[in-house]
Amino acid sequence: MSLFDKFQNTATQYQALLDGIGRDPFGVSMDEMKGPTRAMVKGKETVLAGTNNYLGLTYDEHAVAAAKEAIDQSGTGTTGSRFANGTYAAHRQLEIDLAAFLGFKHCMVFSTGYQANLGAISALAEPPDDVILLDADCHACIYDGAQLSGAEIIRFRHNDPESLDKRLARLGDNVNGKLVCFEGMYSMFGDVAPVKEIIEVAHKHGAYALLDEAHSFGVFGDNGRGVCEAEGVLDEVDFYTGTFSKSLASIGGFVASNHPELEYLRFSSRPYMFTASPSPANVAAASAALARLKDDQSMRITLWENAKRVHAAFTQLGFDLCAPMSPVIAVKLEGREQAFAAWNFLMENGVYVNLAIPPGTPNATSILRLSVSAAHTSEDLDAIIGAYTALSETLSNQAA
């Protein structure tokens, strides 16, 4: 028995698929960046349509200038954790700015979005009497946070308030705290949660609601505050989690809340306490991007116009789409082999999207996930739609 035996099955399958297409979908290297939507990949200029750069701010001049200035002033790294020696004034200021933008009283900044969920969930729930209920399609960091807490974990059906209601009703009297975890927009299919109903069900049973708006912050709502703003229930959210690595074009994460007890997490959340804080450049870039997001609604308008155009084109091409129109547009393929081949076909045609296969996808589907950016130019969109048009012809020729 070796440590490595357990990898063998997956490794063999993976290798067979790689040998088939001669390229690794999970190891693409962008050899040279050409801007927010283009990169050189193996000598070919490629349109990036598999990022999470929703507002297209990765090269924003204000954010770039702020990041450079932060390095000059505060250095390249903090070399310390938020809890000990890694909290600078800029970390505090960003917490204040995020809380003010969202309308919450408290906010904590973490080093990544992954750690924000990991840190909040693992600290909030505790065995043996707390229970975490999570949407079946929640991101890995929510599952991992729940596992790290050690509390009992119960899954409810994706986007199904009734399924949550049944599971909350079944809990015995000896349960203490209940935490319901779900997301605003789900990253793989781009489908949106019935946020209002899920929060209503959670509160009816005395449970707290933790909503992850990682992919919807900056994208949904009149002010970009997420799906909960769009549904008018932002102030009903107990714990709002988000990331800097999507619309804010940096890296880091946060948890915001009106519960003053959020502050207790600063000395009880291990993923907050035992890792280095985000670097000055990351914090400055996120702060600058937040300011841009507040001041300029046009990026969000462009994003949705771009999404609409791609979604309409794909619908016309007859692709099997996973969700109604949103900036994430996922096409369902017939299986792993077809998805690998289709992904490779798009790469050869100069378009990079995400290949996603089970178990990383809902309902064991194999998909090509595309995400639209406000920075995509009309030419970028032409290239994307052109490549998918050619793909659709190839697929229908194969089927014939």
């Binding site: 119960i154 899954r155 079944r170 064991a364």
Partner: protein, 87 residues
Amino acid sequence: MPSIQEDDDLVFRKICSLIEPLNEKGVKLTRETDLIADLEIDSVAVLDVVMDIEDNYDISIPVNTISEIKTIGELVDAIHAIKKEQS
């Protein structure tokens, strides 16, 4: 009231009927069948089957319990234990 043996078989049969569509290699299902090693069902698919079982029996099976389960027989036993506890 069915005898324990009959009830046991009903739960076993119900689980087999839910797993059968995922049994691509046509493995003969017994209590000793290992869900992941023998059937090559991925961990998320196992969780999805359990969700069907939960709704069928109106019980909640924690993810923590499922991650300790390897075989169909262990799943059957866990359901009996939880049915008893939650009824």
